[in-house]
């Protein structure tokens, strides 16, 4: 039996009279890659922010790795073993690539208030190993501020893996990337996740990425979950086609070959 990493029950949030998220429930198992999709304003980001502690739900329950995490701060959720990447990358531009990862390792090793040690020597090899894993080993000594956007995304993935997470939360991991880079990054993420049995929850606008890599897809529309299932099921769901994909657009294998150009 594969353990449940994340279980969400009847999660709701409204702003004024607008129901941003309405009674959303789902589960995520170890090693599973789950995509959360939906048109703009569907409630994906609100959902995501509640999961990682940046936003308080009005009602509902979130169990992450067996613990109730409603009301906990992002840093407390991270300590449970949750890695996080952002829609717009958040890294430390005045440090080198290696130092970026080392800071996360310092935090993981609970050395944040160590005033006397040398950070340069701290977990140097472990940082290098993580960078090699995401293909950034050659850039370890480069200033982070000089990296191209696609490389920043890969660095973020390395940082997110520093606490040996069991769950990765990725908010639009491929936003702002070239089509080629998108596929590479998601392939990399998927292979790492499968190898280490990490669960991945990601939001995404690029349907190629979603249908190629997700094991299961959740479709949100106007705050409610309107469909859930394997890529084939979701692709065939007439409600999803009507509401989400729009009229006249059919995502099948033939179409996909032409996409991404």
């Amino acid at each position: 039996m594969v353990p449940t990493l994340l279980s969400v029950e009847a999660l709701s949030k409204s702003y004024g009279g607008v129901h941003a998220v309405r009674s959303v429930s789902f589960e995520l198992r170890a090693g599973e890659i789950l995509a959360l999709i939906g048109p703009n304003g569907a409630g994906k980001s609100t959902c995501f922010d509640m999961l990682n502690g940046q936003n308080m739900p009005d009602s509902g329950r979130i169990h992450l790795l067996g613990e109730d995490t409603v009301g906990r701060k992002p840093r407390a959720i991270w300590r449970l073993g949750v890695g996080r990447t952002f829609q717009i990358t958040a890294t430390f531009p005045t440090m080198t690539v290696r130092e970026n990862v080392q800071v996360a390792l310092v935090s993981y090793g609970r050395q944040l208030f160590n005033l006397w040690g040398s950070t340069a020597a701290y977990a140097r090899d472990e940082a290098g190993r993580l960078l090699d894993l995401v293909g950034m080993g050659a850039y370890a000594e480069r200033p982070c501020g000089e990296l191209a956007y696609g490389d920043l995304k890969r660095l973020e993935l390395a940082i997110a893996l520093a606490n040996q997470p069991r769950l990765l939360l990725m908010d639009e991991p491929t936003a702002g990337m070239a089509p080629r880079e998108r596929i590479d990054l998601m392939r990399l993420t998927a292979s790492i996740a499968r190898e280490q049995a990490i669960g991945v929850l990601f939001t995404e606008h690029d349907m190629d990425v979603v249908f190629e890599h997700a094991d299961r897809i959740l479709v949100l529309n106007r705050g409610s979950l309107i469909a859930e299932g394997s890529p084939e099921e979701v692709r065939g769901n007439p409600q999803v086609r009507a509401i989400y994909l729009g009229e006249g657009l059919v995502y099948d294998a033939r179409h996909r070959e032409g996409a991404g150009a």
Partner: protein, 629 residues
Amino acid sequence: MAFYFVQFLTGLASAASLFLVASGLSIIFGVTRIVNFAHGAFYMLGAYVAFTLTERFSGALGFWGGIVVAALIVAIIGVLVEMVLLRRIYHAPELFQLLATFGLTLMVQDIVVMIWGPDDLLGRRAPGFKGAVDFFGQNIPSYDLFLIALSPIVLGILWLLFQRTRWGVLVRAATQDRDMVAALGVNQKWLFTSVFALGVFLAALGGALQIPRDAVHHALDLRIIVEVFVVVVIGGLGSIIGAFVAAVLVSELNAFGILIFPKISIILVFLVMAVVLIVRPWGLFGKPEAAARRTPGLTVTPWRPLTSGERLMSLGALVLAAMMPLFAGNYALTVGSEIAIFVIFAASLHFLMSVGGLASFGHAAYFGLGAYGVAFLAKAAGLPMIASLLLGPVLGLLGAAVFGFFAVQLSGVYFAMLTLAFAQIVWSIAFQWVEVTGGDNGILGVWPERWAASPANFYWLSLGITALVVTVLRVMVFSPFGFALRATRDSPLRSEAIGINGKRVQWTAFVISGTVAGIGGALFAYLKGSVFPDSVGISLSVDALVMVLLGGVETVSGAVIGAIVFKAANIWLVSQTDLSKLVLGGFIVLMVVAFPKGIVGTLETIRNRRRSAEAKKSALVTSRIEAAE
């Protein structure tokens, strides 16, 4: 009862000027995002120019005309300042804008004394408002009633201006999104200039209207600017209604505070401000700002520990400095000790500001607390010098622990203003609590013991402590804690997402920094043999900022060089000219515009450029070889 009512009206009348100046500051901030430190200087200039004009032209027309013309003249000066200086620094980090406008303030102080002399000037009474109105046996000056009526009228005019004119719509739009307004084809340059002119006009009008009530003197600027900061912070930066409500609140607190707590009347206002900031960090009527711009932000070169060669060089410089008593006289040694002490002070601020990204505008508070700590222990408790030196800085530590806890809840300009306000609290305690601190007379007779009394010995003591402190701070920069602090500065979002408790990290840095400043203050008390409220004053806080900036805000230890150069130049300058503020102010402005990276930062840039040029050259050579193959 009648007495309290009159006191209330007096408070309202004082609120008028405060509101005019504060609304001007708020309008300017709303559009340009510059906190104009020079606003107090424009207020003071308005008062001086109005004084001259109303003396020159007689009659009611001469008076009222003089006041309006004075405000217009100062507004034109403001336009020149905006076009020549501010346009160059709109995209600079906030800290630089605050410092540049502070430099202007310093220059105006000396210019005003040059033109109008150092004495207080008493202006004419306002024609038509010379008498007083009797209210149940209490007199209210009729001019006060005029002022009370004036501020709601000005508020109404401003409201109409912003709601009903095309210009007002553009200003409100620019306040919400500058870039969008520019993208819509609005000429930003002139919008900014006109907004600045209006803001300065209001400040100068506020100053000009004060002349029938108050003497005109050259310290008006700092007095009003601190109050105005308090007003806009309470009301919310960028909100005119907020400025109005807070101006009334602050003036009433002052008016009644004097009756209830005569000793701590100033503190009362600051306490209210601290409470407002904690409950509503963006002020009563303000809106949360987008994340503040990072204070550093000019380069992205990662910091490196010193190479072994550089280490040797630093050691050599230290040995050289330690040899100074062999050839220098007593005066030079005393100057040397003072410079060493200011290196400690600057390095402590540098740690908070460059590593932590928190630009404190009131760092003198902790320096001064250390100095007073030593004075209490040595004079009152009679402790030996070593014990006092070790325990004195604890007062700085405690102050930093209390104030720092509140200050790190904020960032950017709000952090700067809150730290300034806290420093003013400490200053008012030092100044007003005469029984304990001696007030303006200070505490005298804090002399070092025999073993440290000779200038050479004291110099060695100071130098040794300085070397130790600078080394320890450097180690901390590269320690895991230093990285956590820089991580919090670089990206609060990411650092929270990797488990860093940013507020706690920043608070710790604040306490470390305050303690180190306290060590500097403790030595300073022994160097001077006395402690005065000056060691807590704004000008000392600003000196520290300038030293850090001069050295290079983005370097690891630039403050050391900055402090040495600044302090030496300052001591020399004061001995050479009476216009030291003019020169210093001009220097600050020039530095912000021309050398924002500071001495060490500029040297590093040159070195990096040379290095990458060499790298390119060798790359060129290899590519040629490849081509040849």
